[in-house]
């Protein structure tokens, strides 16, 4: 079951600054699709190094918000890339995308506020 992400918790984690939360949300919403695309390309090209790099950066971006399930999903893909184990990695990618849905929704709310 996907985790719930509360926009107020994101603001609180950033020192209570709504302006900073909005800036961070906008940066994430711009960056995440690009990183997911890079993960997809790495899997299509069977390139574990590129997968580890893109997943690490996405993990780093997600790690700025209280969304441990999404961080963990990105971490699993990063580790797969490091091990060179791309068998069934597609399932982990799908899990990452699912884990990002509630975070992205919360961040979109903040970005609009």
């Amino acid at each position: 079951m996907p985790e719930t992400v509360d926009p107020a918790a994101i603001v609180a984690s950033l020192g209570g600054s709504e302006a900073l939360a909005r800036q961070a949300a906008m940066a994430f919403l711009q960056e995440a699709p690009r990183l997911l695309a890079r993960i997809g390309q790495a899997l299509a090209a069977n390139d574990p190094g590129a997968l580890a790099g893109a997943a690490h950066t996405l993990k780093s971006a997600v790690g700025n918000f209280p969304a441990p399930a999404a961080v963990e999903a990105a971490h699993r893909l990063e580790e797969r890339g490091r091990r060179g184990d791309l068998l069934d990695a597609e399932a982990d990618r799908a899990a990452l995308e699912r884990a990002l849905v509630p975070l992205s929704a919360a961040l979109a709310t903040l970005a609009r506020s």
Partner: protein, 397 residues
């Protein structure tokens, strides 16, 4: 004595090669803006929409200067030089028709036409370029202030991809007007500095750098002005902008005078106890945003670098009190950055950012001489406590 208006009415009846529109001051029917992009409005208010780029180009060419008669064939080849002359003439006629249609009843006041030539009636149109040039020539501080405000951007900055002959003319006109703007703003800045009008001088210097960011003398002037206002961090940031633009555009470093000014301002800032300078080294955009935001909230002077190589360049250019660096980065990672800093005897303390599997990295970093580490996700209180702690160890707050 005769009123001058009567003389001007006679001018209108002179042969074609005489200038058009030298009649006395009448209220203009149109306002034409060419600086910073094309815009035409009726004097009564509403904007007029001319449908094509060529109509904009033709009006602008006729407006610089207004009143000059141009042979139709000259205009046709200027704007449709790639076509044979018959097609160029046809296109020109259609273009002129589009303008007349848009202007409606104003067309006969604005355009002076005959079988051979076309001109724009100088009395009927208020042209920003003409006003700008008059004000620059007048050269009083008030006139220069108004001229600077009128120069909203380069001539027809929104017009691209035109015929070669028109582009050549446009390039020359843009350059000429830009030089006038630079000259006017430089004189205005000198006047404002003389009068100690610091706020206005800052605005002029910023406008000058928008026009030409490579003017190192203006960067220095701006640094001094910010420092006069007590805005030391902003003055030092201006130096950083100067460094960046010189590196990007000219692959060069600031002059000795600029660096000496920077050093002097840094020293003054230290002696006056202003905010500590922190270099954030991180390749991931969201973390940069968060770190920069949290540190600025706490009144630190923050500079960012995207990897270790850029961080080394920054460290060669100015002094920092603390570095906060990610470990895994492209080109040059955080560990290698610390190794090179050790080799070069750069003793700026460094705090590493570590992730989930960070324990091993934390130990390795501390062994190399890192002052501390902060785990992601970044907790604001932990970050600020550790930053304050490390800065305290080196005598900064």
């Amino acid at each position: 004595m005769r009123a001058p208006c009567r003389r001007s009415h006679r001018v209108r009846k002179t042969p074609y090669n005489d200038p058009i529109g030298m009649s006395p001051a009448r209220a203009p029917r149109l306002r034409l803006t060419l600086l910073g992009g094309f815009e035409i409005t009726s004097a009564k208010g509403g904007p007029l929409v001319l449908p094509t780029r060529k109509t904009h180009a033709l009006i602008a060419y006729l407006a610089l200067p207004a009143g000059r008669r141009h042979p139709r064939d000259e205009l046709a080849t200027l704007l449709w030089g790639g076509f044979d002359i018959d097609q160029a003439r046809l296109n020109f006629r259609q273009c002129l028709f589009q303008i007349r249609k848009t202007l409606g009843r104003l067309a006969d006041h604005v355009l002076a036409r005959d079988g051979e030539t076309v001109a724009l009636n100088a009395d009927a149109v208020d042209i920003d370029v003409a006003r700008f040039e008059r004000l620059v020539k007048e050269a009083t501080p008030q006139a220069l202030t108004r001229a600077a405000a009128l120069y909203r951007g380069d001539l027809l900055s929104d017009l691209v991809g035109m015929e070669a002959a028109f582009e050549e003319w446009l390039r020359a006109e843009r350059g000429r007007l830009r030089e006038q703007a630079l000259d006017a703003m430089t004189r205005l800045l000198a006047h404002q500095r003389q009068e100690s009008d610091v706020e206005a001088a800052i605005q002029s210097a910023v406008a000058l750098l928008t026009l030409d960011p490579l003017q190192e003398g203006i960067h220095r002037a701006l640094m001094r002005l910010y420092a006069e206002q007590g805005r030391h961090a902003t003055a030092l940031k201006q130096y950083q902008l100067c460094v960046d633009v010189l590196a990007r555009e000219l692959r060069t470093e600031p002059e000795v005078e600029t660096r000496q000014l920077y050093e002097a301002l840094s020293q003054r800032r230290l002696s006056e106890g202003s905010a500590a300078a922190i270099l954030v080294v991180e390749d991931e955009s969201v973390t940069i945003t968060v770190l920069e935001g949290l540190l600025r909230q706490a009144d630190y002077d923050v500079t960012t670098a995207r990897d270790g190589a850029e961080a080394l360049r920054q460290l060669g250019l100015r002094r920092f009190d603390l570095i906060i660096s990610d470990i895994a980065m492209p080109t040059l990672d955080g560990m290698r950055l610390l190794e090179i800093m050790n080799q070069r005897s750069i003793d700026t303390p460094i705090v590493f950012l570590t992730g989930l599997s960070g324990a091993e990295m934390e130990v390795q970093g501390l062994r190399l001489g890192a002052a501390d580490y902060v785990r992601k996700p970044i907790n604001r209180e932990v970050l600020l406590a550790r930053v304050k702690n490390v800065l305290g160890r080196v005598g900064r707050k």
